[in-house]
């Protein structure tokens, strides 16, 4: 039995307001498996704290969180399902 390959999923929520981006993240999370990586793009400034809150609540760590020119990029590793 082979292990399915780790997936890197890009979720583009730019232009969407709270709670849109975190909802898009949740939808991607439900389609993911342990080991996958989800990369969330957003422009709503609330995403910086919301992504940390989502990460804390679900137990999936943030690998990186960067903001430049109003674009926020959060990379999350799925460790718990």
């Amino acid at each position: 039995m082979s292990t399915p390959a780790v997936q890197h999923t890009l979720v583009d929520s730019r232009g969407s307001s709270c709670p849109g981006p975190i909802t898009d993240l949740s939808m991607a999370y439900r389609r993911s498996k342990v080991g996958d990586v989800i990369e969330l793009w957003a422009t709503d400034p609330g995403v910086t704290s919301d992504a940390r809150a989502w990460s804390d609540r679900t137990g999936n760590p943030i690998l990186s969180l960067e903001e430049s020119d109003g674009k926020i990029v959060v990379v999350i590793e799925i460790q718990r399902r």
């Binding site: 232009g15 969407s16 307001s17 709270c18 709670p19 849109g20 975190i22 909802t23 993240l25 949740s26 939808m27 999370y29 439900r30 389609r31 993911s32 809150a53 989502w54 609540r57 679900t58 399902r81």
Partner: protein, 150 residues
């Protein structure tokens, strides 16, 4: 903390919900439906089990003939600016947000007593409503989680 399962979405495996949020939706004015939509959707997106108990003046908005939600008189002057701002910020309508929450597992319960008061039968409610229950049932499902009253 009570732990229950949320339904599958697009073939994903059933996972455990992280906490629980229950909202008593009592008010019947348009402004109050904005936090309902946002909190229900945010809670569901935070992987929480979400329950909305619809009662009081909110019930009419969940029927098949909801009519227009009134804006409260004291904020009526702000209504156009709020509508414009919500469109500019791409904030969805309350029912779109609630549907999104339901897609993520949220449940909407209509109050049986208020239904009787308003002369509404289960068949009068829109597809937003999952069931018609009494207050005791709602308290039972809300037990052990956070409960907000709007």
């Amino acid at each position: 903390m009570a732990v229950t399962t949320a339904p599958e979405v697009e073939g994903g495996p059933i996972r455990q919900a992280a906490g629980k949020l229950s909202i008593v939706m009592f008010s019947g004015t348009a402004d109050k439906f904005i936090p309902l939509g946002i909190l229900a959707q945010a809670g569901a997106a935070m992987e929480m089990e979400v329950h909305v108990f619809v009662t009081g003046f909110a019930l009419q908005a969940f029927t098949k003939e909801p009519g227009e939600l009134p804006f409260p008189a004291e904020f009526a002057a702000l209504a156009p600016a709020v509508a414009q701002g919500m469109a500019a910020a791409h904030v969805e309508s309350w029912d779109t947000m609630l549907r999104q929450a339901k897609e993520l597992g949220a449940k909407v319960h209509a109050c049986s007593t208020m239904s009787a008061v308003m002369g509404l039968t289960p068949g009068d409610f829109s597809d937003l409503v999952d069931d018609v229950v009494g207050a005791a049932t709602f308290l039972q499902v809300a037990d052990g989680g956070e409960t907000f009253f709007i």
